[in-house]
Each structure stands twice: as structure tokens, then as C-alpha cells.
């Protein structure tokens, strides 16, 4: 398999409406996938409407090389995600993929994945990938409320799942950083992979730093191209401004000026 970016029409083969705000799309590629790594993303071309002039970035939620399908988890935010959420089986979606770097392989088996909101999307793929390397991570997932808790069985195939909800209607109550795994004196994990809203990632990074635990985060950003040419998506790092779409979206928190 080669590491090559492609622009391609994929066919929607399954639409799984998880709840009012979340949909999982399964997309079938017309030819064999290139190598795709966990943490990478796609740039999806939404219908040609004035308010969706640019493509929209989405993490790859999972990949099935045998069926040649990949999945996207879409959280409805604005016109672009609304349109995607209304796609039907048989429709086509144009993607540029795979984009960006990826989560690194850990040098430990004590791995924690932390996700919140649509930030849970890349963690399923990462869990799948870790399991191929015989690592069973703990997976801490934060949701708004019990109605949005979903795909738990899918995650459970690859690791132990802990659930939190903002309102306590399922699992522990509060933000992910309030979870009891973080409240112990010594953190039982040697590596954390985290994806979610900025504030959440910063809070997790703070705990990781406190415990001197290695931690990678997958950053969001506003992107125009997604493949490194527009320089719109930069984030400050120890090497100056770097592109989230090429040098990221995954960064080790050591490289970020977060305090």
C-alpha cells in the first residue's frame, strides 16, 4: 500500500443515524484504499451551496480494508454537516484523503484514549489499530447526555470503555477530566491520546503534564485546503507556526505552548 492522497467519489453504503445530532456514514471507495492511519482525516465536498464553498474536514472513524469502506462520524453543526447528515444510501460524496499525520504507536500497553463530542471519531480507528498491535486501551468517552451515548459496543470490542455525561444521565457526571481515573494520585496510564474540544484537550494535557504522562492531541482548526498549501490552519508549536493539516492534526503536547 502506498501513502498517496486521492480525490475520489465514494458511494454511501450505510447511514446510521445515532441520534439527533450525530450520523455515521459508511463510504465505499471505487478502488483499493491507500494506506490510512488513525488520526488522519478527509476533506469532504459538500453540495455546491454559497455557504459551503470550501470542503469540510472529518476524522476517519474506522476503515475496513477488506470491504474497502471507511466511516465518518458527523456531528451536525452548520449547513455543511447538516447536508452530510441528510445523505442517503447510494449518494456519492467526493473526498480528498487520507490527510494529515497520525497518532503514533505507543511504547507502552497502558494506554488511555479520551474523547469528547465529535472528537470521539478518530478514537475508534485508533482503538482498532491498537488492537491489531495487541494493545487494549481504556477508552474514556464524554457525551452531553445519555441520549447521545452511542457505539459503545463497537468501542468495547477493542478496549474497556468508560462513559461520562455532562448531565450524569449515564456513566459518571461532569467533564471528562472530572472522571475518577484522573482523580487518583498516580495515573495508571503511560500514554494518553485525546481528541475533543480545545478546552477539553487543554484540561487533559494539564493533567498529563502533572503526571508526566506522554500525551498526544488531535487539534481542530479552520481549514481551506487540508493538504498544506494555503497555510490557513496553523498552530504555534516549538518549531514556530505549523500546519495542522500536514504536521498535524496530531501533536504531542510537549510541542504545544499550552500551560
Amino acid at each position: 500500500m502506498e501513502l498517496k492522497k486521492i480525490v475520489q467519489d465514494l458511494r454511501v453504503t450505510e447511514v446510521n443515524r445515532l441520534n439527533k445530532r450525530h450520523v455515521v456514514l459508511e463510504l465505499l471507495a471505487p478502488e483499493k484504499f491507500p494506506l490510512i492511519l488513525p488520526g488522519q482525516f478527509v476533506q469532504a465536498r459538500v453540495e455546491d451551496s454559497p455557504s459551503t464553498f470550501l470542503r469540510r474536514p472529518f476524522s476517519i472513524h474506522s476503515v475496513d480494508y477488506k470491504k474497502n469502506t471507511l466511516r465518518l462520524l458527523i456531528q451536525i453543526k452548520g449547513p455543511g454537516t447538516r447536508h452530510l447528515s441528510e445523505l442517503q444510501t447510494g449518494d456519492h460524496l467526493n473526498l480528498i484523503y487520507p490527510l494529515g499525520n497520525s497518532f503514533s504507536l505507543p511504547f507502552t500497553k497502558d494506554v488511555l484514549l479520551v474523547g469528547g463530542g465529535c472528537g470521539v471519531a478518530p478514537l475508534l480507528f485508533m482503538a482498532q489499530f491498537l488492537s491489531q498491535h495487541n494493545i487494549r486501551p481504556t477508552i474514556l468517552l464524554g457525551f452531553r447526555t445519555s441520549e447521545e451515548v452511542s457505539e459503545i459496543e463497537t468501542y468495547s470490542a477493542f478496549g474497556k470503555v468508560l462513559v461520562m455525561t455532562d448531565d450524569g444521565t449515564e456513566g459518571e457526571k461532569g467533564l471528562v477530566v472530572d472522571h475518577s481515573v484522573f482523580q487518583r494520585e498516580r495515573l495508571e496510564f503511560k500514554k494518553i491520546y485525546c481528541c475533543g474540544p480545545d478546552a477539553m484537550m487543554k484540561a487533559v494535557a494539564k493533567i498529563a503534564r502533572m503526571h508526566k504522562t506522554d500525551c498526544e492531541v488531535s487539534l481542530e482548526n479552520t481549514m481551506a485546503c487540508g493538504f498544506g498549501v494555503c497555510l490557513c490552519c496553523i498552530t504555534p508549536t516549538d518549531k514556530g507556526n505549523e500546519r495542522v493539516c500536514v504536521e498535524g492534526p496530531v501533536f504531542n503536547i510537549k510541542r504545544l505552548p499550552w500551560r
Binding site: 454559497p50 482548526n221 479552520t222
Partner: protein, 305 residues
């Protein structure tokens, strides 16, 4: 097969389709998507005297049929360009043209002088029109006397083809074009982005860290076409036209208005293979209209009744 080649200021271009500075990286980012050989040329990202970090995040806002950016000429400086980037890209089988930017006349001249030494770079495009840098840039592009001055200063040190890229944020684009030609420009490129602004009403904040930024995309095409048309009537040097070109019809419109070649900018973000599709689209338009040489299209707008 119609003849797509064009001659501009003594340079031979395979076809009139090139890519716009700041939207095409250094070209190699597109190797997965297209065969760069098929392009008339590539205008690489702006190069300045020293390393520039550009503006802080957020740098981008989507607008109706367009986008705003406030990248701010992020690049590693001319030294780095000559040492690291030039060797990597110099053997692409298409014209590589460097977009030269700066904050002072000295900086422009310094960068142009350095690029002059690079054998495989046949031309530079002087960017006197970037709205995203505090010092200089746009100021040079909005006052005719300054445009002439910076062009003349670069002309002294730059011996190959000198293109000057104009800002559309002016009362009279023809005055600026004439000033650049007086200063020694061989070619006029237009247009750069229009100064715009986006606001997030929910947060009651500007979307861009810099508050204002440069508008590009199909939203600006009518303005760009008008400026190409005006300048075509006002000066005798060739014009490279751009602003919102999304397909071959758009490209042909620019040529009819007077552009000898076009640049594809923002469209590259939406379809990284679009530039080559535009080459093909122009060829089939020519076949359909029985046009043998693409240069027949340049300025061929019929305005008689």
C-alpha cells in the same frame, strides 16, 4: 489538437493556465493529484527577505462563494528558499515563478536580486498588493508613485521577466498598472485579494485574528474581470488574469477580457486537480469554436453592437 501555447514577454508557456501564489504551495504538494508538466506555469508562495511567522490563528473565514484569509506571507525567507526549496522544485518541467514580497523597497530589491541568481526561475511576480501585512505590501500597491518606485528599484537588480501583481483595492486600477509599467514591469498580474471582513454574530467577534483579510474566490470574479478589461485597454504589456476562476469558462472569460494567461487560485483548495481540467476545458472550447491558437482569444471580446 488546438495550439494552447502562449508567448508572454518572451517566455513560452505550454498553455495559459498557471496557478496562483499562496494557493499552490511550492507545487510538490500537488504531485499526488496532477502532472505538473501539464501546467503553463506555477507561481509559488510569497518569498520575503527574512523568515515570517505570519498572523496568528484564526486566519481563514468562509464567505458566500468565497473566503477570507489573513495568512500574512508566512515563509522561511529567501535564504531558505534558495537553499532548501529551489533545489527541490527547480526541475519541474514547467515555469516556476517566484512571488516576491517585502515591507520595504530594500527588501523587495534584496529578494529579487537573490532570485535573479537562480537559473531555473525565468521570472518573478512582485507582490505589491498583499492586504495582510502591516508594513508595506498594500501601501505600495495603492499609490501609483510608490508602485512605480518599487518596480523601478527591482527592475535595476532583476534581469529576467518582471511581473507586477496589483491590488484591486484602489480607485483606479489603470493608474496603478501604468505606474508599474513606467517602473519597468514586463507583465501585469491582476488581481490580488479584496480587503474584507467577517464577523461571528454569536460571539460578537471578528472571525479573523487580524479583523480584516483578503477576499478570494468566485465572489470576486466580476471585479477581477472588469479590472483586466480596463487594464487591457490602458497598457500595452501582457496581462495575467485571476480572481475566482473555477472552471475553463471562467478562464476563457479572463482571456476574452484581455488576459494572455490566467492563474487558478482558491479553486485549487476545492479540487486539487482543477488546473489541469481547465487546460482540457480550454482545448475543447477551442475545438468547438474552431479556434486554432489560444492567443486568438486574448482581448477578443466583441463589444460592437
Amino acid at each position: 489538437m488546438p495550439d494552447l501555447s502562449v508567448h508572454i514577454a518572451g517566455m513560452h508557456f505550454k498553455n495559459p493556465v498557471t496557478t496562483a501564489s499562496g494557493t499552490f504551495g511550492y507545487g510538490d504538494e500537488f504531485l499526488d493529484f496532477i502532472d505538473l508538466e501539464r501546467l503553463g506555469g506555477i507561481f509559488v508562495k510569497a518569498v520575503t527577505g527574512k523568515n515570517r511567522d505570519g498572523n496568528t490563528y484564526p486566519r481563514m473565514a468562509e464567505t458566500s462563494s468565497g473566503m477570507l484569509n489573513s495568512v500574512g506571507l508566512q515563509n522561511k525567507g529567501v535564504d531558505h528558499f534558495c537553499r532548501e526549496i529551489y533545489p527541490r522544485i527547480k526541475n519541474f518541467n514547467t515555469h516556476i515563478i517566484v512571488n516576491v514580497s517585502g515591507s520595504t523597497i530594500e527588501e523587495y530589491a534584496e529578494v529579487a536580486g537573490r532570485i535573479n541568481e537562480l537559473e531555473k526561475i525565468p521570472a518573478i511576480e512582485l507582490n505589491i498588493s498583499c492586504p495582510n501585512v502591516k508594513l508595506g505590501g498594500m501601501a505600495f500597491g495603492t499609490v501609483p508613485a510608490m508602485a512605480a518606485e518599487v518596480t523601478a528599484a527591482v527592475r535595476k537588480v532583476y534581469k529576467k521577466v518582471l511581473m507586477v501583481k496589483l491590488s484591486p483595492n484602489v480607485t483606479s486600477i489603470t493608474d496603478l498598472a501604468k505606474a508599474a509599467v513606467d517602473g519597468g514591469a514586463d507583465v501585469i498580474t491582476l488581481i490580488n485579494t479584496l480587503l474584507g471582513m467577517a464577523i461571528d454574530a454569536e460571539r460578537r467577534r471578528p472571525v479573523l485574528s487580524t479583523i480584516t483579510g483578503g477576499l478570494s474566490g468566485p465572489a470576486i470574479k466580476p471585479i477581477a474581470l472588469r479590472m483586466v478589461w480596463q487594464v487591457h485597454k490602458a497598457v500595452r504589456v501582457p496581462i495575467i488574469g485571476l480572481g475566482g476562476i473555477m472552471n475553463s469558462t471562467d478562464a476563457i472569460e479572463f482571456m476574452l477580457a484581455g488576459a494572455s494567461a490566467v492563474q487558478v487560485g482558491t479553486a485549487n483548495f476545492i479540487d486539487p486537480a482543477i488546473s489541469v481540467k481547465i487546460v482540457d476545458g480550454i482545448a475543447s472550447y477551442m475545438e468547438r469554436h474552431k479556434i486554432k491558437e489560444v492567443s486568438e482569444l486574448v482581448g477578443a471580446l466583441r463589444t460592437e453592437l
